[in-house]
């Protein structure tokens, strides 16, 4: 989790009854391009595979 995702406390503070409208927690990240999809990841020791056709 990163600091754009609301904390558990922040989310629980907004709890309403069953069936209430809830905003997704990940959209703030996604709309700023911080989606961290597989091709975006850079991890230490990561290996790359390239297809040569």
């Amino acid at each position: 989790m990163n600091d754009m995702t609301p904390t558990r406390e922040q989310r629980e503070a907004k709890l309403e009854g069953m069936g209430c409208k809830r905003k997704r927690v990940e959209d703030a990240r996604f709309t700023q391009g911080k989606g961290n999809y597989v091709d975006d990841l850079k991890l230490p020791g990561m290996l790359h595979g390239d297809f040569v056709r």
């Binding site: 997704r24 391009g33 999809y37």
Partner: protein, 166 residues
Amino acid sequence: MAKTHVTMKVNGAEVEGLVEPRTLLVHFIRENLLLTGTHIGCETTHCGACTVDLDGMSVKSCTMFAVQAQGAEITTIEGVANADGSLSALQEGFRMMHGLQCGFCTPGMILRAQRLLQENPSPTEAEIRMGISGNICRCTGYQNIVKAIQYAADKINGVEFKEAAE
């Protein structure tokens, strides 16, 4: 292949790099500049996930070489938020109107919608749909993307947004 030095402005900052002529602009953005918000979604210039704003144009960055962008001014999704870090009208619209599910097409959609609203600040629904016809979404069915753009257009124009009845 000998590398060429390129310089350009990305999200307001001067950047440079050494690239082969065949290096696509999207690869320069993602791998040299480490701005991974711009996505590669296809091999055929159809999907638009790689859309950036370049010298006042919406451009599919996968169909251009980095060397062609020498001296250009480019905005990527990382440069869309307001200067104070708050979300732009479009980013807020996509969030409020559930205009994304997996989010992969979203950066391209937002960059394209941003230019669309500059071309046409009050587009009709039909104009929005034509305006984003270069961006493909597999998740949402586009309905909420259209609403998100309408939300943003209204917010920018200072008009109250009314969600159309289903």
